[in-house]
Assembly symmetry: C2
Homo-oligomer: 204 residues x 2
Amino acid sequence: MSDSRETVSSKDTEEVIMEATFRALSKHGYKDLRMRDIGEEMDLTRQVIHYHFDGKYDLLSAFLEYVIDQYEGSVEVDGSDDPRSELDARIDQCLFGPEFEEFGHWDRMKVYHELYTHAQNDGDHREIFNEHYDRVRGSIVEVVEEGIERGDFAPVDAERMGQLITDVIHAARGRRMALGHEDAPEEARKAIDEFILSSLYADD
Amino acid sequence: MSDSRETVSSKDTEEVIMEATFRALSKHGYKDLRMRDIGEEMDLTRQVIHYHFDGKYDLLSAFLEYVIDQYEGSVEVDGSDDPRSELDARIDQCLFGPEFEEFGHWDRMKVYHELYTHAQNDGDHREIFNEHYDRVRGSIVEVVEEGIERGDFAPVDAERMGQLITDVIHAARGRRMALGHEDAPEEARKAIDEFILSSLYADD
DNA sequence: ACCGTACTTTACCAAGCAGTAAACTTTTAC
DNA sequence: GTAAAAGTTTACTGCTTGGTAAAGTACGGT
């Protein structure tokens, strides 16, 4: 009881710090993120961070897992639909966000992609991202496999198809943020429909 | 005359600095790049940098253009071939480098992609990348258009097709570096052939 | 001989940074 | 009520960093 209450308030504060980290990262970018910036995004002072986390690296590692958990929580889909509409729904969610342009979706994506690129300089972060990426791609591959089994899709290499779709989604999001191509997700959606999914619906 | 010789030696030194910057960036990553690191990668001292460039930002802006020029110079293709093999050649060059796994190709790509992602925090860099990106995508779109005109390709939306191929290439390279997926370029090549180019060759 | 350009060397600085110490306040446990 | 634990604040420290200062060397052009 006492334990759980302590933990709860602790987790509360830690989430406040995570959200402040998110806003600071969103404003200043990974390279120019200072502990001070995070402090300025909270009602608490920046010293609190050192009470809960063991320095900047520890904080950012925790934040990475926080961001990834949020991402995976946001692409939940009820698996009751038929493979076609479920695949559609998953692609849309990855491209446009959970609740159609939810406020802050692209801010979150910006931070996510910056962490992703930085992972090439950090073995631990790379590993965390790899596990995450496997789950994301896997969830799309699963839908493709189910569609093939049910005869809704042509018998393609599901792994390769899932990977391709995942790559296109990733590139379109990155392009929207790095180059400011606002229409990148929509265009990617159309390109997937026209040029990729046509291989899945070949039997029609 | 005297001017040109001064300029030549000046440009020589500046290229030494650019290459040192490349190595330093490759080792330490964008976030942790110090002027000192660049100095340690040269035979010259780090003070020379301040003689030729107006501070760190000016140096990195010049370096961005240097890297982009190198990239564009490396994807030259003689346009004499037929559209199919020219498209193939361009895709291969973008995915695997100019001279089939030229040494240092992936180091250069790593730096390139890190600058790309960072462009979302810097308006000037973003603009430079946008112009560059237009040229890269444009060169692929051109080939597709020519193929359509000559009747070699199906009459698809060339812009959308070129953009899709560019996106897949970009994502596969990024994945190789950020997540260490060594087979990403090869797999992307196969996926493009199986699932995307099939839409171009639909008339066969 | 003389000047200007390119570069070296040594030494330095002010700002910015992550991290710490310790006093203080609130909450929980009994 | 009281004391320990949890959380918070103010003030500070020591290091790193980009950039500078100044004196000196090498050398080609005129």
